[in-house]
């Protein structure tokens, strides 16, 4: 172990107080190493508390990495720890801020936090940045989390207001699910049959009637038996394609939010490769929250994370955001997209056709589930609907959606004939 190279890390005030350090540094080398380790551990704990998946193994890696690179300057030290602790692009901002706060002076950290926070808030221009800083601040100094909360929600609202004045930030309360309901939901989801139920993968499983010869199995069997070589067969494995659910949670849909969320929770926990989004005036990825097995807990988290319950709808805007940020990451492997919305768009369908077209072209199949809830006052000439209709593969209208079972029955109904959606649209046109 090269102790010389480690010296500057002992007191993480890089740059300052170098002479003093060198004078002290002549002494006990194991103590020096100990302090580096302690500092790295403390740093790792800070990152973990701020939400980065940093386990004890990472600390050992960090020590090895720092020894390999040596500490000659702050930049190299930064990128060394970066290579060890950061795993995803979105963790870079947190790491950056944590690094700069922590390695300036971890000892004075608690005292400094009060001073540093407002300053950093100015630096973090985007509201996403501010939110991260708050997580970090809470990690460094758990007590201030509570006070920061009020301020934070204020900035959040400010940003929201500039975004759209029609947006409403409302909380959402869901009734808890009874055990009986849970059992029924489970049974219902087992009956779900999407139009593309499963697709062949390029992996194979043994199958006596398979179309392909499995030479490996054949040979092994031949060795065991001798004499005639019996040909073993295999066929492609099948698995459900990825499913992406985009669900409208605007005011006109609020009656059904609970059913839809239960549906999304059940389907997320029923199969893999399910991604769920909700949108009103903004798009929120709720996949992570719904992965909680406990449905009440999951819905509680969703209610907290989503801020635009029962407000207006900007379908075009939400789809544009999905197309730009998520479609390449989620639709790559031939996903089915299930779009749940009533097509009532506050932006009167502006830009919607374009985004629908793009969405339609990037997925295997686009299904539109439309709960026609305002049945009496329903407007067939809704501009949003008109813009969307030409781009869906399948249109599934449903009246009086009362339960999860009804929803699943609609989704599992046999595939409509080709052009049915267009024909339905035509009828509505004529009726109007």
């Amino acid at each position: 172990m090269t102790n010389e190279s480690l010296t500057p890390a002992l007191t993480p005030h890089a740059g300052k107080g170098r002479d003093r350090r060198q004078r002290e540094g002549e002494g006990d080398s194991s103590a020096k190493h100990g302090r580096l380790l302690a500092n790295l551990m403390h740093f790792a704990r800070t990152l973990r508390a701020a939400g980065l998946p940093v386990g004890p193994g990472k600390v050992i890696d960090a020590v090895a990495a720092v020894s390999a690179v040596g500490i000659t300057n702050r930049t190299d030290f930064y990128w060394t720890l970066h290579a060890v602790f950061v795993n995803r692009p979105d963790q870079r901002l947190i790491f950056d801020q944590a690094f700069h706060v922590f390695w300036r002076n971890p000892d004075l950290l608690k005292k400094m936090m009060g001073l540093v926070l407002p300053e950093m808030r100015i630096e973090g221009i985007e509201d996403q940045g501010t939110a991260m800083v708050r997580r970090l601040a809470e990690a460094l100094h758990p007590d201030i989390g509570k006070e920061g909360q009020a301020e934070e929600s204020e900035t959040e609202i400010d940003a929201a207001m500039s975004f759209s004045d029609r947006e409403q930030l409302r909380g959402m309360d869901f009734e808890k699910m009874s055990l009986e309901e849970l059992a029924r939901a489970k049974a219902a989801i087992a009956r779900l049959r999407l139009p593309v139920q499963d697709v062949p993968t390029r992996r194979f499983a043994p199958d006596r009637h398979g179309a392909r010869a499995d030479l490996r199995a054949t040979l092994r069997a031949a060795l065991r038996s001798g004499g005639l070589i019996e040909l073993k067969r295999r066929s492609p494995r099948r698995r459900p394609p990825p499913l992406v659910v985009l669900c409208d949670i605007s005011g006109s849909m609020s009656r059904y939010s609970r059913i839809f969320l239960h549906f999304m929770h059940s389907v997320t926990n029923d199969r893999d490769r399910v991604h769920t989004f909700v949108f009103g005036t903004r798009l929120t990825n709720i996949t992570r929250y719904l992965r909680h097995r406990d449905v009440d807990l999951a819905l509680e988290r969703v209610a907290e994370a989503v801020t635009d319950w029962s407000g207006g709808t900007r379908i075009g805007h939400a789809l544009a955001e999905f197309n730009r940020l998520w479609s390449r990451r989620l639709l790559g492997q031939g996903a089915i997209v299930l779009l749940i919305t009533d097509g009532l768009d506050r932006d009167a369908g502006a830009g919607l056709a374009h985004e629908m077209d793009r969405l339609h072209r990037s997925c295997r199949r686009l299904i539109w589930l439309n709960p026609l809830l305002r049945y009496d006052g329903f407007e067939p000439k809704s501009l949003g609907m008109k813009a969307m209709m030409p781009y869906v593969d399948e249109f599934r209208p449903v009246h009086n959606l009362e339960s999860l079972e009804a929803l699943i029955a609609v989704l599992s109904a046999p595939i409509m004939r080709r052009g049915t959606a267009a024909a339905w649209h035509g009828n509505q046109e004529r009726a109007a």
């Binding site: 690179v69 795993n87 692009p89 070589i229």
Partner: protein, 304 residues
């Protein structure tokens, strides 16, 4: 055998010697991967030079480059090893005709002679030139089962073949994994690697790259091209142009004997730079002319 660079500066110089203009941050990550025998996991948009790093490392260190291009359904038979079944069957028939002992046959047909080695197994074999560079390209294209399989290989650098036993690499290969992020790779795999997000380069670095990769282009044209592309990257396009596109575009312009950017030349060659019809339609004509005007003003100011 070329020695592994001893410091971050040496790594930077090594990459530079093979015409790869790297950030110091990237050099640090490469240095770590080389020294601690950990895979380097590179993520980033298409065309920012992820695959190139592996190629450059192999040529600069004079190691063999073994490339595994990933695709959905990639399995052990095409990634690691496969038995040569046809020859094995002939061997069995011959042995039976010669009335050999059953157990002896089994020993013969599951030997090295009948083993077809695929990239991952090749990478574990000793090499006179030193441990090879193993490039696992576009890992996001495979499915989760293959990712899980890689875990054993990447942490212990060993492969288990039931008929033979465990094959262990004496000198672990230099592993570079790339991903375009068309899906998230599992954390368990990333945890075993050093992670680096390859970003679009700054204007200065891009100009430097262009000098190395398109040496025929004039200073003036290169400057304009880089400035134009940098401005495109600030726009809300569906697919931003990467470094590969910048180089291609410069070469296309040179082929057409363009000495400086004109709206006409841009419109004719936009397809080299942008790969989505929406983006092209948006930029074609007046928008391109507007950006070009800004670029001209910028470069004129820089030269004055």
């Amino acid at each position: 055998m070329a020695a592994i660079p001893s410091s971050v500066d040496a790594t930077l110089a090594l990459l530079g010697s093979a015409d790869y203009v790297a950030d110091r941050s990237l050099a640090t990550a490469v240095h770590l991967a080389l020294h601690l025998n950990r895979p380097l996991f590179l993520e980033g948009e298409a065309g920012v030079g992820k695959t190139e790093i592996a190629k450059v490392l192999a040529s600069a260190l004079k190691r063999r480059l073994i490339r595994l291009q990933c695709y959905e359904g990639l399995d052990v038979a095409s990634a690691v090893y496969e038995w040569d079944y046809a020859r094995q069957m002939i061997e069995i028939r011959l042995a039976e005709a010669a009335e050999e002992d059953r157990s002896e046959i089994e020993g013969t047909i599951f030997s090295d002679r009948f083993l077809i080695k695929r990239p991952l197994l090749q990478a574990l074999e000793p090499d006179i030139a030193g441990a090879p560079v193993l490039l696992i390209d576009e890992l996001d294209r495979t499915d989760e089962p293959f990712e899980a399989y890689l875990l054993e290989l990447l942490s212990d650098f060993q492969v288990t073949i039931p008929e033979i036993g465990t094959i262990h690499a004496e000198h672990p290969p230099i592993v570079i994994i790339t991903s375009n992020r068309t899906r998230e790779i599992h954390d368990a795999l990333k945890r075993r690697c050093f992670y680096y997000w390859v970003d679009y380069p700054t204007a200065a670095r891009e100009l430097e790259i262009l000098k190395r990769k398109a040496p025929g282009a004039s200073e003036h044209l290169s400057r304009e091209v880089v400035e134009f592309v940098q401005r495109l990257r600030t726009m809300d396009l569906f697919k931003l142009p990467g470094i590969a596109e910048t180089i291609d575009w410069t070469e296309a312009l040179m082929q057409l004997d363009v000495l400086e950017l004109t709206p006409h030349a841009i419109n004719d060659t936009l397809g080299v730079l942008l790969k989505y019809q929406d983006d092209i339609a948006r930029l074609h004509g007046s928008e391109a002319a507007r950006i070009l005007e800004q670029v001209k003003a910028e470069t004129a100011a820089a030269q004055a």
